[in-house]
């Protein structure tokens, strides 16, 4: 029971990270490697306002999400927009530049000291099996479900949403239905960054501290979740998150006494290889790219 509960709790976090990755992938066929660092950077903004200035949590959270959105939009404007004809992989490499830049700025401004952010809601939460599920973790599940449904409605139900989905495959068609590609692109990167920030805000209380570069592992798990789900499917991101969370929790429980540390990362690597080699379109993805 315990690994399952923990798996779902962490799975929701991974799913949240994965939703942002999936949104950007759907709109641009690019995997953004900067999601983790955008999230971390936004946490510093929240931390400056709440822990340092004593403002309420929601003020800090709003600033974080706004700041992240600005980073995403800025990246789109200064980099992605100038790479219309470039190979998609080059844009992915550019996101590495963004991630390194953000990590270095964090290090320069705030050092390596781990920082702590208050949880949005206090209390130890509900006991499930032998573990407590905190209010934040419950919120994560709810937010994940809400975001998933909301984004699905946007992508399926509106011209603009269809434009996001079609932008990478058939830009001409998007232009013909009267949706401006530059708006779609800006929205995709901005919203993707906002999702990274939301994920970071909701997962920080579970990890309890953050520092430059700290999101790397979580981000990899989120990336695996997105991949397991099929990279382009929002429901897949959700399902992939849970699958990754549960597998990780079971591996961790089984290997607690092992001489070999960190076997969960080996399990992630193996999972990636199995998914990519056996079923490249993932659990719920449409077609292999």
């Amino acid at each position: 029971m315990t690994p399952l509960t923990l798996g779902v709790v962490y799975g929701a976090i991974y799913g949240l990270i994965a939703v942002g990755i999936v949104l950007i992938y759907r709109g641009t066929k690019v995997v953004s490697f900067a999601q983790g660092e955008i999230g971390t950077f936004s946490l510093y903004l929240a931390w400056l306002l709440t822990t340092e200035r004593g403002l309420p949590w929601w003020v800090g959270a709003s600033a974080a999400i706004l700041g992240a959105t600005a980073i995403g939009v800025g990246f789109e404007f200064f980099v992605v927009r100038r790479m219309v004809h470039a190979n998609r992989l080059s844009i992915a490499v550019a996101t590495i530049g963004l991630a390194s830049l953000l990590a270095a700025v964090e290090l320069k401004l705030w050092g390596v000291t781990p920082r702590h952010l208050r949880a949005p809601v206090g209390g130890i939460g509900v006991k499930v099996g032998s573990v407590y599920v905190t209010p934040t973790q419950i919120i994560s599940l709810v937010v994940l479900a809400g975001l998933g449904i909301g984004l699905a409605l946007l992508l399926r139900g509106t011209d603009f949403g269809l434009g996001i989905t079609a932008a990478a495959d058939d830009p001409t068609a998007v232009r013909l239905v009267g949706v401006r590609l530059s708006h779609v692109s800006m929205f995709t990167w901005g919203a993707g960054a906002a999702l990274a920030s939301i994920a970071a805000l909701l997962l920080e209380p579970t990890i309890t501290v953050f520092a430059p570069d700290y999101a790397g592992r979580l981000f990899v798990a989120g990336m695996v979740a997105a991949l397991v789900g099929g990279l382009s499917s929002l429901q897949g991101a959700f399902a992939g998150g849970i699958v990754v969370g549960v597998i990780e929790a079971y591996v961790r429980q089984r290997t607690l006494t092992s001489d070999v540390p960190g076997l969960t990362t080996v399990a992630m690597f193996a999972l990636i290889l199995v998914v990519l080699l056996v079923r490249p379109r993932g659990l719920l993805g449409k077609a292999a790219a």
């Binding site: 490697f33 992915a92 390194s100 790397g216 695996v224």
Partner: protein
């Protein structure tokens, strides 16, 4: 440069060794204040980092295979050095530990390369990140193997009783190792190894059509890159007298990506310069410490957005564009209409069997290809007799190119056989068919567009370059002689094409028609038995198409080659082809002598419509 290459390799290497070996003590003696021990250590660190950058450049810059976890391979080399050289472990001499570190890196890279055969681009990027985490968080922390969280001790190199504890002495060793890697890397790029890598990076289908075994060369790129990374690991480990998992975290791998991209993918000098700048400058000048990643991240984004080839290429391109403009301004006439190279068979080419008398050179029997539910080719058969030009026509979507791909091996037919020179090649990979005597062009032009005309002509000769990979890496055995021959042939071909002025121009700066001619030259330069051309006149002006027709007739009449041709330009087809096959909805609906076929009512109906012919 050319003057330098005339000096025998051994002497050049000796000079470099002496220089590098003598320089540090010399500096140490004359400039003792400048080269302090910490500075020497920093320079050694720069050398190790440059070695790691060369490793990633080989994989990513030459072969186009992305790796975001390359520092994990450096780690493999460092731990392998510790396990073999540490007195507490095997205690082998350092000189033995370096090749072992290279072998360990190569082995792990080989295993990493296996999934890379199936994974491309973004997926490979993700897999390599996960690989990095699995190595750093797990494998590198196994206490029995790597000393766990405390890490492993690695000794400095020692010779007899003399251990290189002085930083100056170690710097000499580090620079020697870096110079060694540089020379090997140079041998990669001036032989068919590097050209095969670059071809794979440019276009895998094209690479196979020139006889390059892409599975083999991708794995070779991983193995060589892993070996380089292993040596870099040995340099690191010995420098810091130890290694632990944290030294090889993902962020170092990503810094390496920054260095290689900003330095210029595929540019050896640029990459080493960038590596030295990123590793050495922040440590020498405390004022800029901490800024390197900020600047690096920004530079990376700027580079990929503006100059994807990095700064060296940006400079070269600017120079090329200027030269083109000057040529235009000076009003020099365009080169005369080109001829095609008529050259003797390459010496590296084994004598090919001839088809039995009365048998066609190429025989395709009942080939069917389906993509999902779509029957692209449906039981097509055709014969191409030696010394003839056979045309394949049909409406768009009739399956002409698919049939071409089935013949050249790029798609696997569900049923049917392909025979070349009386030999069943149905189950051969495309590169093996190329080696067996098939040459082909592509609708979208099968050239490495970033490479020059000469370089493309060299890469096209892959399958006649008869030397092994170890010979190439050491520039020994047959390599120098064969390479000289290949270059002579390439330059003959450039002359024959009349492209002297474009010999060193990247192909992407040529017009479409010019690229077509270069592609034809590349196909002909290895004297294939069968020349397969996919819409050669597409995108050509009428005048150029006419010239092409004359040249193709030469290919048959003067060079004695056999041609299979897909073409939409009906007058050209009727002018040129001996036999004609008409494909419609995947089936051969008519075949026979060209003019007779073109006059058949069903052909006119299915394909030619109301066009009045002849």
């Amino acid at each position: 440069m050319t003057g330098l290459t005339r000096v025998p390799a051994a002497i050049r290497i000796a000079v470099v060794l002496v220089l590098f070996g003598a320089l540090p003590p010399l500096l140490g003696r004359t400039l003792p204040d400048l080269l302090t021990a910490p500075r020497a250590q920093t320079l050694s660190y720069g050398a190790a980092f440059a070695a790691a950058a060369l490793a990633l450049n080989l994989l990513m810059g030459y072969a186009g295979q992305i790796s975001l976890g390359h520092f994990a391979l450096v780690g493999v080399g460092a731990f392998a050095t510790g396990l073999t050289a540490s007195p507490l472990r095997l205690g082998l001499p350092f000189l033995l530990a370096v090749p072992i570190a290279a072998a360990a890196g190569a082995l792990v890279a080989f295993v990493l390369g296996l999934p890379a055969l199936r994974l491309r681009g973004m997926y490979l990027a993700i897999a390599t990140i996960a690989f990095s985490f699995a190595m750093v968080e797990s494998v590198f922390r196994i206490s029995g193997l790597t000393g766990g969280s405390g890490g492993i001790d690695i000794p400095r190199p020692w010779f007899g009783d003399f251990e290189l504890l002085q930083e100056h002495d170690y710097l000499a060793v580090a620079l020697l190792l870096l110079a060694g890697l540089w020379l090997i890397d140079r041998n990669v790029t001036r032989t068919r190894l590097g050209r095969a890598f670059q071809a794979i990076r440019a276009d895998e289908d094209m690479a196979q059509a020139y006889g390059i075994d892409i599975v083999r060369y991708k794995l070779l790129a991983f193995v060589l890159s892993g070996a380089f990374a292993g040596v870099a690991g040995a340099m690191y480990g010995a420098l810091f007298l130890g290694a632990n998992a944290e030294n090889f975290e993902l962020r170092f791998s990503l810094l390496l990506v920054i260095v290689v991209v900003v330095g210029g993918l595929g540019s050896r000098g640029g990459v080493v310069t960038a590596a030295l700048m990123f590793a050495v400058l922040p440590r020498l000048l405390s004022a800029i410490r901490g800024w390197e990643l900020i600047v690096g991240g920004a530079l990376l984004m700027y580079t990929v957005a503006r100059h994807p080839g990095g700064f060296p290429e940006a400079i070269a391109e600017a120079r090329e564009k200027k030269a083109i403009k000057e040529r235009e301004r000076s009003g020099e006439p365009e080169p005369a209409l080109p001829t095609l190279p008529d050259m003797p068979r390459p010496s590296g080419l084994a004598e090919r069997p001839r088809e039995a008398a009365g048998r066609p050179l190429l025989s395709v029997r009942d080939v069917s290809v389906a993509f999902g539910g779509l029957q692209a080719v449906d039981g097509a058969s055709l014969d191409v007799p030696r010394g003839k030009i056979v045309g394949l026509i049909g409406p768009n979507g009739a399956g002409k190119t698919t049939l071409f791909n089935a013949v050249s091996g790029l798609v696997k037919p569900q049923s049917g056989t392909v025979e070349l020179l009386g030999r069943d090649v149905t189950n051969l990979a495309p590169h093996a068919r190329a080696a067996a005597g098939m040459g082909r062009t592509f609708q979208l032009i099968g050239l490495a567009k970033d490479l020059s005309v000469t370089e493309n002509l060299l890469l096209a000769q892959h399958s006649v370059a008869g030397y092994t990979a170890p010979e190439a890496l050491a520039w020994t055995g047959r390599t120098p002689k064969v390479e000289r021959e290949l270059r002579e042939r390439a330059s003959e071909a450039v002359h024959a094409l009349g492209f002297e002025r474009y010999a060193h121009t990247p192909v992407k700066f040529l017009s479409h028609g010019q690229q077509r001619i270069v592609e034809l030259g590349c196909v002909l330069v290895t004297a294939p038995e069968l020349v397969m051309l996919d819409e050669p006149s597409a995108g050509m002006s009428p005048g150029a198409a006419e010239n092409l027709a004359v040249r193709l007739a030469d290919v048959r009449d003067a060079l004695g080659r056999t041609v299979l041709l897909i073409e939409h330009n009906i007058p050209l087809v009727l002018d040129l082809c001996d036999d004609l096959y008409v494909l419609d909805a995947g089936r051969v609906i008519a075949s026979g002598p060209a003019r007779e076929v073109a006059a058949l009512p069903e052909v006119v109906g299915a394909y030619l419509g109301e066009t009045v012919l002849v």
